[in-house]
């Protein structure tokens, strides 16, 4: 399956960016082959509606799962309604968090864990 990780860079070695709606990239990882592809997040530049734009690009990339740290209400609602599972609260680099996911160590988010536009007020 494909997993999207909010990231500061475009590959497995890149650090996780904690802001799901406003991170610069998502790294899309195929969990079978552990191949990775970085896609730009249009939410990074958005004034409002960042989370919706992020969810759209995640869905377009064919991801079934999203892994991030802080997930705000727009991002969370859009992903959940689309049936995409969300994991939050993680840090480290992309490869490390995908491995944790494969080992069943991550907790699924039942609700958003960040405020609206919180990612606009920090640099990540």
């Amino acid at each position: 399956m494909k997993v999207a990780v909010s990231s500061k860079g475009k590959d497995l070695g890149a650090p996780v960016d904690p802001r799901c709606g406003r991170c610069p990239y998502f790294v899309i990882v195929d969990t079978e082959t552990m191949t990775a592809e970085g896609v730009k997040n249009p939410g990074a530049l958005a004034g409002t509606g960042a989370g919706v734009a992020a969810a759209q690009v995640i869905a377009n990339a064919g991801a079934d799962v999203v892994i991030s740290t802080l997930v705000g209400p727009n991002t969370f609602a859009a992903l959940k309604q689309g049936g995409i599972t969300v994991y939050g609260g993680v840090g480290g680099n992309v490869e490390a968090v995908v491995t944790k996911f494969k080992n069943g160590e991550l907790q699924e988010l039942e609700d958003p864990n960040a405020e609206l536009d919180a990612g606009a007020r920090r640099r990540g």
């Binding site: 509606g49 759209q56 859009a78 309604q81 689309g82 049936g83």
Partner: protein, 300 residues
Amino acid sequence: MSQTQTPRLSISVAAGKGGTGKTLVATSLALALNDEYPGQVQIIDCDVEEPNAHLLLQPELSEEAPVYVLVPQVNLDICTRCGECAKACEFSAIAVIRQAVLTFYDLCAGCGACAYVCPTGAITEVERQVGEVRVGRVGEQMDFIAGCLNVGDQRATPVTMAVKKRIDPKRISILDAPPGTACPMQETVEDTDYCILVTEPTPFGLSNLKDAVDTCERLGVPRGVIINRDGVGNQGVADYCAAEGLDILMRIPQRREIAEAYSRGETLAEARPEWRDDLVEMYKRIVEIVGSQSVQEGVS
């Protein structure tokens, strides 16, 4: 211009910094002009997020008209989830996340692009109320128009545009702008004949004044400055105006009696009647400035 003809300008009153005295000046100017040119004046409160002119003018309202924007309604039976609407949307107000079609009305600008690009005609544009326009009268003769954006809604400009549509171009209009220099202020100031920028003579006032002057320049609106609370702060604003060739139209001194009057809901003209004459003289001076600019630009 004939002696008997009322010079009919539209004047916006803006500032940049909030709390400088825009509403004080706008309402005082409107009342003074209404004395001079009875029945020829409209006061328009364009601060639709926080209208307050009514607190000073106590208008009698005759109409409250809803303001609508168009938002997309998706027929999920016809929709093929192709995602063209989401691609077309500049505001992320519509998204197709796998089989879910999601709309975010508070992000929607009502542009209609989604409905336009939909290949199956699954999107209908429907009305959503975002605020209202209030119309009435101050006293016997002065017309009052104000707008109010619904609490929780973000886009002020549809309400501002609806308010400005009610302006009678054949009479004098004084527009009280919102603070700042963003879209709501620009929508107010755009297409007015002149913009009075009210500032306080402090570094903060100067900083925001520069933004406001720049915005008026880009909008092509001639402008001048009123220094309110004259006596506080420093010479920065005055020096800036001199350097930029900006007219200082009036100086309102820092006086406790003005603040006290304002807090009772009274305007300048009511606090000190001689200011009524000063305000009318200022208007006549603005008429000359605008008139001579039109001649320079070859406009008849």
